[in-house]
């Protein structure tokens, strides 16, 4: 499993794609595999504010519950509503169709590079 080089990562096993002032956020394959097959996703509402490292959503598998930590301060501009009917998309394509939210960020914290994140997960 390879973590795309063009993405940034958090210690909470999220990936971030920065495009202009909007960041797309998802969870890494490592996180998706650790959770098992995802059966329910609770995402923040469009227009809600996110605060760095505050819980803004939940991802549930049959066996466990994972919390989604906001990787930055900002405002949610889009949530991946297609996941409510097909949450397993996160397992199937965590870096693509399984994205979670888009945040218009007001500030960016330090994020990990793919190499740093690989080191964190022991790859």
């Amino acid at each position: 499993m390879t973590n795309p080089e063009n993405l940034k990562y958090t210690k909470e096993h999220e990936w971030v794609l920065i495009e202009g002032d909007v960041a797309t956020v998802g969870i890494t394959r490592y996180a998706a595999d650790a959770l098992g097959e995802i059966v329910y996703v609770d995402l923040p509402k469009v227009g809600s504010n996110t605060s760095y490292m505050k819980i803004c959503g939940e991802i549930e598998s049959t066996k466990s519950v994972g919390e989604l930590y906001a990787p930055m301060d900002g405002e949610v501009v889009e949530a991946n509503t297609s996941l409510s009917g097909a949450p397993e998309t996160i397992n199937e394509d965590p870096y693509g169709a399984g994205w979670l939210v888009k945040i218009r960020y007001s500030s960016l914290p330090d994020l990990l590079s793919a190499a740093d994140y690989n080191a964190l997960t022991g790859e």
Binding site: V39, D42, K63, V65, E88
Partner: protein, 366 residues
């Protein structure tokens, strides 16, 4: 951590592992939901060799009548019973399946985590009985082959015995056990399981385990991990020790008092007999939830609008077969909550509507 004989097989199949009662066991091979559905719709194969096997030779029926809560001496040869071994206070040490292989030969299957407690209790209770207790867990492997297609597939793998006869599985009733040859390997085949489907449990010596696993797997059977095993047993309303059963609970709280026989004296019988007709402090309920957010173990349950909890969930999951959340919960024994009673579960700060339903949640069609 301990591993089963088939550990490397599971590794080669890409399993994810988890610690279960001190055993490093496969939790899933791929998707636990696919594994669950395979058992409901076709067939699945589980390695459950972590479970303990104990043989009792000699006056086994008479001894076990004293050691466990059911009258297992009344079993016919080749039949099995779900029962419990309790302490003197009536608390559950473990739930067991006891098989009568023959009058002088019984087999007890216990949970992995309770192996030593069960063996110790059996040995202590055997004083004065002419029995020999052997913990054979380290020498034998146990495979669970479960699902509507399991009988047909297993029959195709049965080979002739020393008399040249192939065992006919249609003669093996639910909760029965018989010796048979599977691919030339001697196995004890029981029609028991923990999934709510038709299925079998195969006891084979460790040296034969891989051969039997490969034979069954070669028929396109899905290998299944403990995640699917847990969702399957929960849908079938089967208790799991450590969740629905504990040493500070008796069979009455779990609603399983019908397995007790008071015709005989056994360890715990005095304490348990006093509870007949009394309201237990807690009672086990089956609950069904709204939406897709499952109340999980230890989440609190409330009456609608209630401020203080009336009990806790012991096991809960979004049911893969039914598509809604299901849970088992111990609720205050003073409340009489009929099927249909509305309740609420606190799911991480949000109240989710639940209602009392009949156990089990899922029953297979016949």
């Amino acid at each position: 951590m301990q591993t089963t004989t088939l550990f490397e097989k599971h590794q080669s199949l890409g399993a994810t592992f988890t610690d279960f009662g001190g055993w490093n066991m496969p939790v899933r091979y791929g998707s636990d939901l696919d594994e669950h559905h395979a058992v409901r719709n076709s067939a699945g194969l589980f390695d459950i060799s972590h479970m303990a096997e104990i043989t009792i030779l000699g006056d086994a029926g008479q001894f076990l009548d004293y050691a466990v809560v059911s009258k297992v001496s009344a079993l016919a040869d080749g039949r099995a019973k779900y029962t419990m071994i309790c302490n003197a206070d009536g608390g559950v040490i473990d739930d067991l399946i006891v098989y009568r292989i023959a009058a002088q030969d019984y087999l007890v299957i216990a949970n992995a985590s309770n192996r030593h407690a069960v063996v110790k209790a059996l040995r202590e209770r055997s004083i004065g009985f002419d029995v020999e207790i052997q913990d054979i867990s380290d020498d034998y492997s146990l495979l669970a082959f479960q699902g509507p297609k399991s009988a047909e597939i297993l029959q195709s793998l049965i080979t002739p015995d020393y008399k040249g006869e192939k065992y006919d599985l249609s003669n093996l009733k639910y909760y029965a056990i018989a010796p048979a040859q599977v691919g030339g390997v001697a196995a004890l085949i029981a029609r028991t399981g923990y999934t709510g489907e038709d299925g079998f449990e195969l006891l084979v010596s460790n040296s034969d385990a891989e051969k039997v696993w490969d034979l069954i797997a070669s028929k396109g059977v899905t290998p299944c991990g403990l995640a699917a095993r847990d969702t399957l047993r929960l849908e079938a309303g089967m208790p799991l020790y450590g969740h629905e059963l504990e040493s500070d609970l008796t069979p009455f709280e779990a609603g399983l008092e019908k397995i007790i026989s008071f015709e005989k004296q056994f360890v715990g019988s005095e304490s348990l007999e006093k509870r007949v007709g009394q309201t237990p402090s807690r009672k086990l309920y089956a609950l069904k939830g709204e939406g897709r957010r499952a109340a999980r173990a230890d989440y609190e349950i409330f009456l609608p609008g209630g401020e203080s909890p009336i009990g806790k969930v012991t096991s809960g999951v979004l049911s893969p077969t039914l598509g809604y959340p299901i849970a088992m919960a111990y609720l205050s024994g003073d409340l009489d909550l009929p099927v249909g009673s509305k309740l609420a579960a606190d799911v991480r700060g949000t109240k989710v509507e639940y209602e009392v339903v009949a156990m089990p949640f899922y029953k297979r069609g016949r």
